[in-house]
Symmetry: C2
Subunit: 330 residues, 2 copies
């Protein structure tokens, strides 16, 4: 196929070892021969064979990325920045998608191991001690993103609990006293990794408590959450109700439903999302939500992974910033 180190060696009248020294600027070579070899390599458009190099060095320059899917815009954004940063750092990206299936996630990881990836960035769907052990047994640097597995892994994300707490406090500040909390993933408790969702939920409860709201929120974990909301009535006088959704996507569905019922937002009922996904800009009324920079997640995740790969360990990454976006739905 391509031109090899050996051919260059023959042309330059040196040994393969010397060519290697020149091309990977390692010590033990005169400037003259080095320059010559580099020039010849350039002329022949020499391209190193990464497979061969991997085999010899035991490193593949590949980072495996494990995500649910790419349907959620945030994941797409995340992947986008991971790809960019990886390529910038000279790494390849091997992407596998779990479709939120825990078994499939393991298959995905196996797939990456076959590929002998140097590190893994994962938005985990599995959780618990067994999985933690499993990950450790892989003997590969792992960076967790958006969902914690255990304290033993680098984690990139925001303080979801605190963010949701502040969001709830913000809502209380607007005079709402009744709350509905929409979070279907909570029904997967014990089945899949819902760390982040649990955090947000805990934050909600904390927020209510601090605001002195004693009436517990109505918690909707139903997969058919729109149907559940459909069975509730709103807009019939004070105190007003706020529907807090753990993700914008739920909030959008709920908004659609509320509009369909002819309810006014926020006059009849308040609505809050989380994530600030970009389609919000096409939505009226503007959804109040929590924003954070997903691209930063990707960037930090790659840096953290590379640091672990190349230095053996990485400094813990601080939780990333977020902020409440005041829309018109609360």
């Amino acid at each position: 196929m391509g031109v090899t180190i050996k051919e260059i060696a023959v042309i330059c009248g040196v040994s393969p070892g010397t060519v290697d020294r020149a091309l990977n600027d390692r010590p033990g070579i005169s400037e003259k021969t080095k320059a010559k070899i580099i020039e010849v390599a350039r002329q022949l458009n020499y391209q190193p064979d990464y497979m061969a190099r991997s085999l010899a060095k035991g490193r593949t320059m590949t980072i495996g990325v494990v995500l649910f899917d790419l349907y959620n815009r945030s994941f797409a954004q995340l992947m986008n920045s991971i790809e960019a940063e990886c390529r910038r750092q000279g790494y390849f990206v091997d992407l596998v998608l779990t479709n939120k299936d825990p078994d499939n996630e393991k298959k995905c990881i196996e797939h990456l191991l076959h590929r002998k990836v140097d590190g893994i960035i994962i938005f985990a769907i599995n959780y618990g001690e067994a999985f933690d052990h499993y990950l450790k047994s892989l003997n590969v640097p792992v960076v967790t993103v958006c969902n914690r597995v255990s304290g033993d892994w680098s984690y990139i994300g925001i303080d979801d609990r605190k963010a949701m707490k502040e969001a709830v406090q913000y809502i209380c500040g607007k005079g709402y006293e009744r709350f509905v909390y929409v979070c279907p993933p909570l029904s997967y408790r014990g089945k899949t990794n819902i760390f982040t969702q649990e955090e947000r939920f805990a934050g909600c409860l904390e927020g209510l408590k601090e605001c002195g709201i004693h009436e517990p929120p109505v918690i909707v974990t139903d997969k058919d959450y729109v149907g559940a909301i459909g069975r509730m009535s709103f807009g019939d006088g004070e105190p007003r109700t706020a529907i807090v959704c753990s993700c914008d996507i739920y909030a959008l569905e709920v908004m659609n439903h509320l509009k369909g019922r002819g309810l006014r937002i926020p006059e009849d009922v308040g609505l809050m999302g989380f994530d600030n996904i970009d389609v919000l800009k096409y939505v009226t009324p503007a959804l109040t939500t929590v924003e954070y920079d997903v691209e930063q997640f990707g960037l930090q995740a790659v840096r953290c992974a590379v640091e672990q790969i190349e230095q053996g360990s990485a400094a813990p990454v601080p939780l990333l910033p977020y902020r409440i976006i005041a829309g018109a739905s609360i």
Copy 2:
């Protein structure tokens, strides 16, 4: 790291060659030794080293995927199905994102070549003879998706021209006689690959012609197309105007703008999109658009690539189906 073929050979008291025969069920081995070897391999949880195999066979079992980015929901969907089908077929996916930068696209392709991918699936941003030659020089199977490069490459997509033509005929059938065609990418004519957009535009013109509309459409290729639309007036009597957008995303922006101006859709002005991106379901009024199955694109692209890789060539893939979704915006 892992257990090797050699170790298994030693344990079983046979040669590495025999182990290879057993593990890759190749002829020339007795059932007995084969069974034994397989059993030992299983017990030791033997995992073949794909790097070594690649080096020996000259094939990497990797398909490179070149996309603009993942921001457009359709690309994400596309990538999702590509990943799924690749893994099903035992291939790895190496994803690179060009961010619509022609130079970057070449870098991305080089990146894939370094990786020695067996085939490439590309939504090309480059075009023209030079690029066509370049692709040929790579000596790797290439499948083009969503944007043609030349007739020499397998292409996966719909008949955009015909689809847009039918869409325009549909609009005419609703009594519209004035047209605005929104397609910012047309301003990149001569700079990047806008094959699909050109097709849609041509389809629009053809449709108008066949419907006997002689007044040429107002063509908006301005990057600030919303601003351009903002300088036009609508709703001032018959004949009515339809704003045809070459992608839903433009239509959504325009819709936002029109609503902001207090114009009623479709009473004052009609609006048409293309692609049926999924966020449409959150939008009122429902946007009339053209739908097709992006997942099929991915599936077919992978199959076509694999066919080329494994058989040396692939049967041409027929253009995929589409259909007009009648919303409430026309």
